[in-house]
């Protein structure tokens, strides 16, 4: 195999690789796919919730939406204290109120639902 063939082969591979990079989906589209599918999962799961438990459903979804604590921890993560980390810490505290409060009050309510003896 002579030099020029190798060069041109390499060129083709490079262009091909670039094409793959250019043609790969944007991370946003990937996230958006997950988002849409999750809405469908939510739709089916929530219609199956018995109406008697709609109040616990709301309190537990409250706790679940406090999953934003993940973002709050990242914001509070750096050792250097600045506006960003302080806001992050406040957000960690607020989300923690919801997580503990939400799950515990749900547990308290669910414990009340008893069958006839």
């Amino acid at each position: 195999m002579n030099q020029s063939v190798m060069d041109s082969t390499q060129a083709v591979i490079q262009t091909g690789a670039q094409a793959v990079v250019q043609d790969s989906t944007d991370p946003f589209i990937f996230s958006f796919t997950v988002f849409v599918l999750a809405i469908f999962v939510g739709y089916h799961v929530v219609w199956n919730v018995t109406p008697a438990l709609h109040t616990p459903l709301m309190s537990v979804t409250n706790a679940i939406s406090s999953i934003v604590i993940v973002g709050a921890i990242l914001a509070a993560g750096p050792l250097e204290m600045n506006i960003g980390t302080i806001l992050g810490l406040v957000a960690v505290g607020l989300a923690a109120v919801n997580i503990f409060g939400g799950f515990m009050v749900t547990q308290r309510m669910l414990a009340m639902f008893k069958k006839r003896q």
């Binding site: 996230s31 809405i39 709301m58 537990v60 990242l74 810490l89 109120v97 639902f113």
Partner: protein, 465 residues
């Protein structure tokens, strides 16, 4: 932990959260489901804590402990009648947390790993940040207003003024304009203007909505808090947040739909507001007090109940206001012991939030398998000897079926008028939320017991022997 391991752990957390909601399909599976949800949340927090960018352990644990302590104590002592306020309050915290995270992400994108080559934000991140911030901000202030109305800190009466909807529309456009400016320029001024208008809009959107419509609003804000969480998920590129946010978002949307349907109103009609003021009292309301009713004493009521084969109890929020659940439970126990078939009929809008009345009855140790939803129990009324209406009014009004001019026409109701006898416990002949008189009170087979729900239950209990 490698990036792939982190992503897989987040996936496990997301699946556990789905199981938490799935568990709520029946009371038996719900407690285990809630446990799954807690484990999922724990995994999410632990995995995030060990990420290389997170080093501020002391402070983060401190914030977790303080928040957890507050949340835990509130959860232990909150009365069940206050659940709607608590839920509204918690929505506001999610909204505020989302806003704080968004501001922090704009301030220091590197901490989130979303910085571009110059330490700024990519266009996609800016758009996601814009959406997350304004949804979070509206959720925050709107929930505060909903909380204040439910807690009675401000009047539940709708606040309306001329040009209200035009003003909101205008503010909405300015907010979007400022948002677009922020997306193009990364300007702090545009960002803060957008944030400020979103905070004001949250207040303005909720003040025209009356107290009676708050269950819909609380459900809707539940949905918003989910979308806000999903927005933060998009900013971070974190699928677990997106999944959890989408679940909560669709859950709140479905609950809003169910509540609207139970009141025969469109969501648009609720959001425009103004319902629940004095304007809606018209039609037959004028005749209140002019028509003869058959009033009875507690002894008569006790006699009627004891000699019935089957009794269906229709509780309304008035029951909870009078704290009569426990006294009622004793009456029910006694009737069941003497061989009466007793069941409860729950209208979807009984109580102050979806499913509220079920929780209040469960708290009074009423077993959930004698508590039925409207669609299950309605065909049974024709076979029922006594329908006992306690602290409920509009949800039993047959005018909703027959009178196209009345405010609640088309709203599904409990068919108590089909029962052999109707027993209504009520303090007076006053009208309900919708400002309507109820024909049930004037039927031949109806006996009115004019008393506070709790006192009525206690005196009936004494006469039951």
């Amino acid at each position: 932990m490698s990036a792939n391991m982190v992503a897989l752990a987040y996936l496990i957390a997301a699946v556990l959260i789905i199981f938490a909601l799935k568990g709520l399909s029946s009371p038996e599976s719900s407690r285990r489901g809630n446990l799954f949800g807690m484990i999922g949340m724990l995994i999410a927090i632990v995995v995030t804590m060990q990420l290389p960018g997170v080093q501020n352990y002391g402070w983060i644990f401190g914030a977790l402990a303080v928040g957890g302590l507050i949340g835990g104590s509130v959860a232990r002592i909150i009365p069940m009648t206050h659940m709607p306020q608590l839920v509204a309050f918690m929505h506001s915290l999610v909204g505020l947390a989302a806003v704080l995270i968004a501001v922090s992400a704009f301030y220091d994108p590197a901490a989130f790993g979303i910085a571009d080559a110059f330490g700024g934000l990519h266009l996609a991140s800016r758009i996601e940040l814009f959406l997350g911030t304004f949804i979070g901000a509206i959720t925050f202030t709107a929930s505060i207003v909903a909380f204040a109305k439910l807690q009675g800190l401000v009047s539940g009466r709708p606040v309306t003024f001329k040009g209200q909807h035009l003003l909101n529309l205008l503010l909405g456009f300015i907010m979007i304009g400022a948002g677009i400016l922020f997306c193009m320029s990364q300007s702090w001024d545009a960002f803060l203007l957008m944030l400020a208008i979103a905070l004001v809009l949250g207040v303005l959107l909720i003040i025209p909505i009356g107290g009676a419509d708050m269950p819909v609003i609380v459900s809707m804000l539940n949905s918003y808090s989910g979308w806000a969480a999903a927005g933060i998920g998009f900013t971070l590129g974190n699928n677990m947040l997106i999944i959890a946010g989408a679940l909560v978002g669709s859950s709140g949307a479905i609950l809003s739909y169910i509540m609207c349907k139970a009141m025969n109103r469109s969501l648009f009609n609720v959001l425009l507001g103004g319902f629940g003021g004095e304007a809606s009292s018209g039609g037959s309301a004028a005749s209140v007090g002019d028509r003869p009713v058959k009033a009875g004493a507690a002894e008569d009521a006790a006699f009627l109940l004891q000699n019935a084969r089957s009794v269906v109890i229709v509780p309304g929020y008035g029951l909870a206001v009078a704290r009569a659940q426990h006294a009622l439970k004793e009456v029910v126990d006694k009737l069941i012991a003497s061989g009466v078939k007793v069941r409860f009929a729950i209208h979807p809008v009984a109580g102050r939030m979806p499913g509220h009345m079920n929780v209040l009855l469960a708290e009074a140790d009423v077993p959930y398998d004698i508590v039925f939803e409207m669609d299950e129990i309605n065909p049974e009324f024709a076979e029922t000897d006594v329908a006992l209406v306690l602290g409920a009014n509009d949800v039993t009004n047959p005018a909703a079926k027959s009178d196209p001019t009345c405010a609640i026409y088309g709203m599904p109701i409990l068919d108590v008028e089909k029962a052999e006898h109707v027993l209504v416990v009520k303090r007076s002949l006053s009208v309900g939320y919708a400002g309507l008189d109820n024909d049930i009170f004037y039927m031949d087979k109806t006996m009115m017991l004019f008393d506070d729900a709790k006192k009525a239950c206690e005196t009936i209990l004494k006469s039951l022997d």
